[in-house]
């Protein structure tokens, strides 16, 4: 190694090490603090009466019998809230033309999806509130529901929002180069496919939960919730409940899974805050599993008509797609429900160098639960469409699927560059990750084995995906469009009198290990053992202002702010130490909780000695030395809208043509998320993400009837991946740090979910190809596979 040691290779760094999570023990001892674990004096409980039909005019609501139930404290309908909460509209100005209608926490006049909250019961216990809810009599005049997104734009379709004229929420077209000319060439092979991506949802094991306390004497509202973006919720509650922002405190403690589900504005949560404010008593709402399925945002539900033209030597001449997606009756507030379609347009084909591209998305209203941002927004669609078309085209022209990728992936030395869709890319490594994947999965040997097994009637397949992931979003993601969502994050680090440090950051923890990696960075950069670091996140009262954790931004953005804050605090401490020790600051360092000689490492004084001198015996310091021993730094991405990562993944499946049953035998993921702070935590993100992606590919779907009823809203009927069906997943890394920060970390939270569905689909089609069948509809259930085979 040449040159001076950096923060990444000095002896006391924790960056790059699989440090165990300090908060794991608490959770293993049953001492987690989830919202429903909290009990407050005089606390009340909420339950909701929800719309039993997908579309209906509210004629009357009779709550007399419910009010008579012993223990019921208050009952509210939509009309009761009109004076106490202002409506919200899920649009953003940078999504030009996106429209949605004003929404209220409880429906007023018209109910627009089965499950929409209509009546709120507040009672002494949840059981009593549910007893009362069962006695509420609804008089709802059924209106024709709009459920099929493909006919929702027909001239004779009912229109969900009077005055809009149609059910179109948003439309965007991207054109690059001359796609028509590319497809008109006589030397290209054209492959066209219709891809269907089912509706699925997050199924966080801890359902959404909020507990709200309001103190009318100080007009202070405290909102404990299971969520990802405390400062965003602070703004929303203040704005719509008419409170000064500083009078709203939002706290997010342990979060039992989120995956994007808990980052949105839900009527029942807002209603809980309104009720607490009106009653001056704490009110708790914890969704039950039925409420989760009916009202937690859903995602996907896209139909994509995709087309690719490739030359005889395998080069992509052009790619076009038409995407339609149904988002429910409203665009979700405040992030909107147009982002997934927008991502499909932005990301399809993004790993590949080609010039001719046209993509159109139409986003339509329908009378189903709303869709919005859920883990890997748009990615599973974009990756499955591009790589599905590419692998099918490879089969058409008789080229190996690895070879066709090698001929089209953007060269590793071609960055910075821009995709056909206009995305700025830098620091990616598609070829390196693909090469590593091919080696680690023993590609050629498996191909040979599959050919041999096919002769025995065993149908195995390999499917690959080369992908990008959007991480570390800049202000160009939401802030530019007027959303109250911070893109920058801040970290404050202070030296405690005992020589420990306290880190307080605006990014949040939902189990991915945010608090651990912040501690690793702070400990290593500042120079204390990691067990001398305490971390606070998830509280608007005590952390710097920031966006929270979503879009794989915790490590890349919160981590960089922490690195910078630790560096600044170190500078302060060394200035004080230099004065006390009569040395130059440059001649000193901090290692293992001690100020040491930079050359040689001899310990000069402990951090606790230094801190106690400053805090207790300032008289020993020169009067003009006024150390803070606390530093705050904020960080945002400036040069790019997002920092992309890349990866290459592969699935090996076996399809039973008799039953249509698919077994995922193996899965490999080679990921480049830049500098890795904690390999074990990153691998956990990748593996968990892959399994979530396999769920969407094979099992998970919200089944709606034509009348807009969700027919499988239980965990027995909605299938999620369980331990037995899942393979062990091999994870490998290529590390290309992003140049946008010193830390060099990109995100890793969504890659698996974004890539796995396309890989699994390609693997199944590889297995089915000798049988003359193919499938492009997810989830790829046994029934659908048998239909593809013509068996049923």
């Amino acid at each position: 190694m040449s040159g001076p040691l950096t923060i990444f290779d000095k002896p006391n760094t924790y960056i790059g090490k699989s440090v165990p999570r300090p908060d794991a023990t608490r959770l293993l001892h049953g001492r987690g603090k989830f919202v429903d674990d909290m009990q407050l004096p005089r606390m009340l409980h909420a339950a909701f009466v929800r719309s039993p039909m997908a579309h209906g005019r509210i004629v009357g609501i009779d709550t007399d019998a419910a009010r008579a139930v012993d223990g019921v404290v208050a009952i509210y309908t939509g009309a009761d809230f009109v004076a106490h909460v202002t409506p919200y509209v899920g649009v953003l100005s940078h999504l030009a033309g996106l429209r949605s209608a004003p929404q209220m926490p409880l429906a007023v006049d018209v109910a627009r999806w089965a499950g929409e909250p209509l009546v709120m019961i507040v009672a002494s216990s949840r059981a009593v509130a549910e007893d009362a809810a069962a006695l509420v009599e609804l008089d709802i005049e059924e209106l024709p529901p709009v459920t099929d997104m493909e006919t929702a734009l027909d001239a004779d379709s009912p229109v969900i929002h009077e005055g809009f004229g149609s059910n179109l929420a948003w439309e965007r077209t991207v054109v690059a180069g001359d796609p028509d000319a590319a497809f008109a060439r006589d030397d290209v092979t054209i492959v066209e496919r219709r891809f269907k991506f089912g509706r699925h949802t997050g199924v966080t094991l801890e359902a959404r939960a909020s507990l709200v306390e309001y103190d009318p004497s100080e007009r202070m509202l405290t909102y404990w919730y299971s969520g990802q973006a405390p400062h965003m919720m602070q703004f929303i509650l203040a704005k719509h409940l008419d409170l000064p922002e500083e009078n709203v405190r939002v706290v997010s403690q342990d979060v039992g899974g989120s995956f994007g589900i808990k980052i949105h504005t839900y009527g029942d949560d807002i209603a809980t805050a309104v009720a607490a404010k009106l009653l001056g008593r704490p009110v708790k709402f914890v969704a039950d599993r039925l409420e989760s399925f009916l009202s937690d945002i859903h995602a996907r539900d896209h139909i994509v008509d995709g087309r690719i033209a490739v030359t005889a030597d395998g080069k992509i001449a052009g790619l076009t797609l038409e995407d339609i997606t149904g988002i429910g009756p409203y665009s979700m507030y405040p992030r909107t429900s147009a982002i997934e379609a927008n991502q499909v347009l932005n990301l399809t084909g993004a790993p590949y160098a080609f010039k001719n591209y046209r993509a159109r998305a139409r986003v339509v209203f329908q009378n189903k639960n709303m869709t919005c941002q859920y883990r890997a927004v748009g990615h599973p669609i974009a990756m499955a469409v591009a790589d599905g078309l590419l692998e099918d085209a490879a089969a058409e022209i008789g080229m190996d699927v690895v070879e066709i990728r090698r001929r089209n992936l953007i060269r590793d030395d071609a960055y910075p560059t821009t995709t056909a869709s206009g995305m700025k890319l830098d620091d990616l490594s598609h070829h390196k990750t693909l090469d590593r994947l091919v080696a680690v999965m023993d590609y050629a040997a498996r191909r040979a084995e599959h050919a041999r097994l096919r002769a025995e009637g065993i149908y195995r397949g390999l499917g690959l995906v080369s992908m990008v992931e959007v991480t570390n979003p800049s202000p160009m993601f939401y802030g530019i469009g007027g959303a109250p969502i911070a893109s920058q994050d801040g970290t404050t680090i202070r030296l405690e009198a005992g020589g420990a440090i306290h880190v307080s950051s605006s990014v949040t923890e939902q189990g991915q290990g945010t608090n651990t990696i912040l501690a690793q960075i702070a400990a290593g950069v500042f120079g204390v053992p990691i067990d001398r670091v305490k971390v606070t996140t998830g509280d608007t009262k005590t952390t710097p202002y920031g966006g929270g954790t979503w879009a794989s931004r915790g490590a890349g953005i919160g981590g960089e702010a922490t690195l910078q804050a630790a560096h600044a605090l170190k500078g302060q401490v060394l200035e004080v130490a230099a004065t006390i020790l009569q040395a130059r600051p440059e001649a000193l360092d901090i290692i293992d909780g001690h100020v040491v000689d930079a050359g040689g490492g001899a310990q000069r004084m402990s951090l606790s000695d230094l801190a106690r001198t400053v805090y207790y015996r300032g008289n020993e310091l020169p009067n003009d030395l006024t150390p803070e021993l606390v530093a705050t730094r904020h960080y945002r991405v400036t040069e790019f809208p997002f920092v992309f990562t890349n990866g290459a993944m592969a699935a090996e499946v076996e399809v039973d043509p008799e039953t249509g049953f698919v077994t995922v035998l193996n899965f490999w993921a080679v990921e480049d998320c830049g500098r890795i702070i904690n390999p074990q935590l990153v691998d956990g993100q990748i593996r968990g993400g892959v399994v979530q992606g396999i769920g969407g590919a094979l099992y998970e779907e919200c089944h709606y009837s034509d009348e807009g009823q969700l027919e499988n809203a239980t965990m027995a009927d909605y299938l999620t991946p369980m331990a037995f069906e899942m393979p062990d997943i091999v994870v490998e890394h290529v590390e290309t740090p992003t140049k946008t920060s010193v830390l060099g970390a990109k995100g890793a939270g969504e890659a698996g979910t974004g890539g796995a569905p396309g890989a699994v689909m390609n693997a199944i089609n590889d297995a089915l190809r000798p049988l003359g069948a193919s499938i492009h509809q997810m989830p790829m259930t046994p029934e659908r596979i048998l239909k593809a085979l013509g068996t049923v």
Partner: protein, 159 residues
Amino acid sequence: MSETRTISLTVNGAASTHAVPVRQNLVDFLRNTLGLTGSHVGCEHGVCGACTLEVNGATVRGCLMLAVQADGAVVTTVEGLAEARRGEDLRQAFIARNALQCGYCTPGMLATALEYVEGGGAADRIAIRQHLSGNYCRCTGYQSIVDAVCDVIDGRAHR
């Protein structure tokens, strides 16, 4: 609806007597009356396994058993396991393997895994996956949990 019945039971080694609503399930009783919030509620119909705990030596779903059915029973929750240091090697293996992320499934997962380990289960990944298949985890992808259980079985075999 508000009918109650008096039950006596031993939870984590402590005996007590309570008047409980006859319709209340065991996990709600443990959480709301005894304040033992380590047992979690995920689906309330026995599918997700978050409320898995031990009653009279058997692992049960706390949501599928009424509190009144626990009259006379000996109940051990995740808090009780920790206090008694039972399954300490399993907890340590969960930490070492990062076999938990959000931690919400963890109490139930621990109870199910401990049942397998104490029942003499083999360090066979397929058998372990099968045994854990009644416990839903959305975060980890399960692999690290299987790793942790294997480590413990190997460790106990070499003790």
